[in-house]
Amino acid sequence: MANIISDETIEYVGILAKLELSAEERENAKKDIGEMLDYIDKLNELDTSGVEPMSHAFPVNNVFREDVPSEDDGREKTLANAPERGGDSFVVPKTI
């Protein structure tokens, strides 16, 4: 494996992803991410100079919606997913 993921990197990636990993999970993740980066290095061997970067696999563009509002009140369906509901709002730990 050419790409070695350091403990600091896996710690940082964990913070970004809001994941708490056990010692064993960390080691596995380091190995998996290293292999993924090796694969990307492999792809990078291909000369792509002069190739227009694409953001989408299909040649489709300009898919639009007209600006017409729906009359639906989505409240109940949306709040059905709330871990905790307060009135018509989601309740979350105090965040300022």
């Binding site: 970004l16 563009n61 300009n62 898919v63 989505g74 709040l79 307060g86 018509d88």
Partner: protein, 477 residues
């Protein structure tokens, strides 16, 4: 004593005036019951698919064209990843690599009356986040996702501004352009226009920029001015005492007139942008651009010139009327009905301004109709009401949009003009005030004022003073 120069760039967020959100058909209406305008798309439910609102693209292009930008004809969205409770997807759909508009500028007037171009680095489209409501005493926050997915454009300026005055001039210019385009109402207080200020200081003459900070939570022009002065002082104090300025985001507390660091270096922002896989690219053809260009309304500068040219309105008056889209609309609609631009301008410049100030209202809150103002102007032209009655009637129009013809009729305010009643009243006034008559005839022309006053009093204010003057002069010959 060292001289310092302030260097300022702005990031301005503007909520677009679409009826629906950027990626779903939920209403953007302000003030609905919490979470009533939500669906699986704008609450980030797994498996939901965003579909772009075409009007968002058109508004963004319109603003770009009006600010001299180059439109990115091959354009796409990117995903910005971060966790925050007001952001249910854990990412914001925004634009990083190919923003829809780039390299623009707007011209502002500086304090010394000169002109200056402020560069626009880019304008990109993105979605707004939900709203967190904090309970001061409780342990929780409440989340309302009605605003989640409301379309925004973010206008990023170059660091071209050097003072609070220039910042305010730039914001006012942007606001006018966007209001004229109808792309947003741009209300700072309500948050449909939000400005983040990036500010650094450097010694006068230095070629490198200093370390900058970003200030948020500025919701009025006054707060922006105070925040700029406050941050400039804070940074100069740090430099002069040999300390370093930390690049950070600070929150302005307008009540305390001080800014506080919001984020420290430890949780540095790493948004891991990547192309948004749920949305296809946007290709803006030349035809589409031409179509939007042909629909661009007349903007402020052109309107001001036209008012001077077409209606012969003085520069100062035209400047005030066109400084607000609502005022300009009322002016044009009323003028179209009564064909008397001078009078319409006068009503707007004097009485409307006075009443706005008295009621502490913004021009946007005006509710009277051009039809009723036009009718009032016609009544004054016909001399059916005199000017003091007209002012009184106008207050009623301003407050309740009453029909002035009916109102004048119902309240018996019609001026009594050249008829027997007026003439005989004046004859009586002349007979009752021989001293004034003598003074007048003896050369004290001012004495006629007293006689006019007496006549008006006798007529209970319902006479036309010009007519009274005329008859008096005639009878005193």
């Amino acid at each position: 004593m060292k001289q310092f120069e302030t260097v300022i760039g702005l990031e301005v967020h503007v909520e677009l005036a679409t009826k629906t959100k950027i990626f779903c058909s939920c209403s953007t209406e302000f003030g609905g019951e919490p979470n009533s305008h939500t669906c699986p798309v704008c609450t980030g439910m797994p498996g939901s698919l965003p579909v772009l609102n075409k009007q968002v693209v058109e508004y963004a292009i319109a603003v770009g064209l009006a600010t001299n930008c180059t439109i990115t004809q091959n354009c796409k969205f990117d995903r910005k990843n971060y966790f925050y409770p007001d952001n249910p997807q854990n990412y914001q759909i925004s634009q990083l690599y190919l923003p829809i508009c780039r390299d623009g500028s707007v011209e502002i007037e500086t304090e010394d009356g000169g002109r200056k171009n402020i560069g626009i680095h880019e304008i990109h489209m993105e979605e707004d986040a939900g709203k967190l409501v904090h309970d001061e005493w409780g342990e929780n926050s409440l989340v309302d996702f009605n605003r989640s997915g409301v379309p925004l454009i973010e206008i990023v300026s170059e660091p071209d501004m050097r003072s609070a005055d220039e910042v305010v001039a730039y914001l006012e210019k942007l606001r006018l352009i966007i209001q004229y385009l109808g792309a947003s109402d741009c209300k700072l207080q309500e948050g449909s226009m939000r400005a983040d200020v990036n500010l650094s200081v450097r010694e006068a003459g230095a070629s490198e920029f200093g370390t900058r900070t970003e200030m948020k939570n500025l919701n009025s022009f006054k707060a922006i001015r105070r925040a700029i002065e406050g941050e400039r002082e804070r940074q100069i104090d740090l430099i002069e005492s040999g300390q370093k300025i930390i690049q950070e985001t600070r929150r302005w507390d307008d009540a305390k007139e001080y800014s506080y660091a919001m984020r420290s270096k430890e949780d540095a922002q790493d948004y891991r942008y990547f192309p948004e896989p749920d949305l296809v690219p946007i290709i803006i053809s030349d035809e589409w651009l031409d179509e939007i260009r042909s629909r661009q309304p007349e903007l402020r500068t052109e309107k001001l010139e036209r008012y001077k040219r077409e209606f012969n309105i003085p520069e100062y008056d035209a400047g005030i009327i066109t400084s607000n889209k609502k005022l300009a609309d009322i002016f044009e609609e009323t003028t179209a009905i009564c064909n008397n631009p001078k009078k319409v301008s006068n009503w707007l410049m004097v009485e409307t301004m006075r009443l706005l100030k008295e009621h502490e209202m913004e021009p946007e809150q005006i509710t009277f109709s051009p039809e009723n103002l036009a009718k009032l102007i016609q009544l004054t032209e016909d001399r059916a009401v005199n000017s003091s009655v007209a002012k009184e009637v106008f207050e009623k129009i301003f407050e309740e949009d009453i029909d002035p013809e009916k109102y004048v009729e119902e309240h018996g305010l019609k001026a009594v003009s050249d008829d027997g009643a007026l003439r005989s009243t004046i004859e009586k006034v002349i007979a009752d005030n021989p001293q004034s008559v003598e003074d007048y005839k003896g050369g004290k022309k001012k004495a006629i004022g007293f006689l006019v006053g007496q006549t008006m009093k006798a007529m209970q204010g319902k006479a036309d003073p010009a007519m009274v003057n005329k008859i008096l002069a005639e009878l005193l010959q």
